[in-house]
Symmetry: C2
Subunit: 310 residues, 2 copies
Amino acid sequence: MKYCFGVDVGGTTVKMGLFQTDSMLLDKWEIPTRKDLGEDVILSDVANAIREKMAEHGIRREDVVGIGVGVPAAVTGGGFVEQVANLGWTQKDVKKELEELTGIEVKVENDANVAALGEMWKGGGEGYRNLVMVTLGTGVGGGIIVNGQILTGTNGGGGEIGHILADRNETECCGCGKKGCLEQYASATGIARLARRKLAENSKQTILNADEVSAKTVFDAVKAGDEVATQVAEQFGAYLGYALADLGAVLDPEIFVIGGGVSKAGEILFTYVKKYYQERTFFTCKDVKFALAKLGNDAGIYGAAKLVIV
Amino acid sequence: MKYCFGVDVGGTTVKMGLFQTDSMLLDKWEIPTRKDLGEDVILSDVANAIREKMAEHGIRREDVVGIGVGVPAAVTGGGFVEQVANLGWTQKDVKKELEELTGIEVKVENDANVAALGEMWKGGGEGYRNLVMVTLGTGVGGGIIVNGQILTGTNGGGGEIGHILADRNETECCGCGKKGCLEQYASATGIARLARRKLAENSKQTILNADEVSAKTVFDAVKAGDEVATQVAEQFGAYLGYALADLGAVLDPEIFVIGGGVSKAGEILFTYVKKYYQERTFFTCKDVKFALAKLGNDAGIYGAAKLVIV
């Protein structure tokens, strides 16, 4: 039996998984991201954790086919990152450094792209090879898989669908500095913003409360039949549905997989997203499938492992 | 020396090229698209033309590595088209039929995608492997190349960038039946439509004449310093520039190649497109290059040939 590791480097913790190359997850664990101790500590901690885990399971180096790594940054040249403020990294060749530390082959990709690969392999997109993953969390992340491969892009910026233009008339800024990005409407914070705007202009009765509105309270209210919350869901559905229709015309995927905190609302999301998707979609992609992500926080370790399994 | 053929099937003529596999174009010619004589005639004419050309040049079958074909339709499964009204084709396995007629390996792709591949190989995108080609003609066509390969899509609909949403407030219909598609603003007909709208609401002096306005007269007037025409160019630039910024965020290409009749206006197009592209682009793709297409009507035969040259 051969083995590999999937490593998902986040700002607070590094999630790690030991897999058999037949896809079975044997062990998963986390280590803290000790980013304040100098820029070499994180990868050194990862290498030590891998070494310990190999010893614990009695796995020899020659039986490990590789280490896949997801990082919260644009990755170029197979493993280089320019700057990751979140981790205190500057101009870091993650692939080379971790290979030197472990003696094992390493592949590195952006974490959202890796999560998409994970969902394709063993999650909501299992069985498909052309997939767009949309992660609706604090922001809107994305990952594109074409013929089973991550669309990385020239500068590692492939799949940044949170920053496509959703509203030319927006007056507030997105975190990226531009105005009108999809992320401003379809993320958890975006949905809350839409709801606050709606409440400010609304005189109808509603169970929503402007002081504690969130994506969760909005969709809970939708499920309870609240009219104002339903109007917010329609707005959300139009922004995301139209954007996915554009991606359908450009990428013509087999399936859209929706993950992230907002996706906990469940299938009801699709009621609103599909309605507007179908209104706009180009005919070639009208039969695309929609699915919820299944792997949750494990998508990163699954996708990272899949990077090194051919 | 090995050879291949590039075939670009259009509604009126079939353009054909005989290439050496080192990329040299040895011969090019056209035959009429005899679509009214039954649905098998077009491919049979193509096969005969190839046979005659091989005899003329003394080329043996074993020295022909393949025939690449571009067709004005969505292509799936490597060579199947569902319906091509333009050619009278229904449920046609173009690859299989032409292989049976010629005894030579055939690859088939959508014509816009093939043109993109041609421009990558020997045109405005030569030297790049991640490219988006935008064809501004009667409509807006597109082709996406990722790592040197056409992004075909699940149903052959990859790269249909003319039908991404450019204006949610549009009231008129696009040819596809939806409202607000990029094609309604950035095609030759779209630019003329923008100009007519502008002239209808305009009271300023202008050399544009509503009765004979076209993409050409608009950009000629822009070059002559006409203020109203310049406003139209700004609108065009915003629609196309914003759309390309979205494609930048999603695909992160190295270069955008602009072709089609509108591109005859030349570098002045980029003045308007780049301005709005830069206003909206996600940071990872801000340094993307822009170039004019170089191959004109030959892009199809070049790209088709490249399909069969590994």
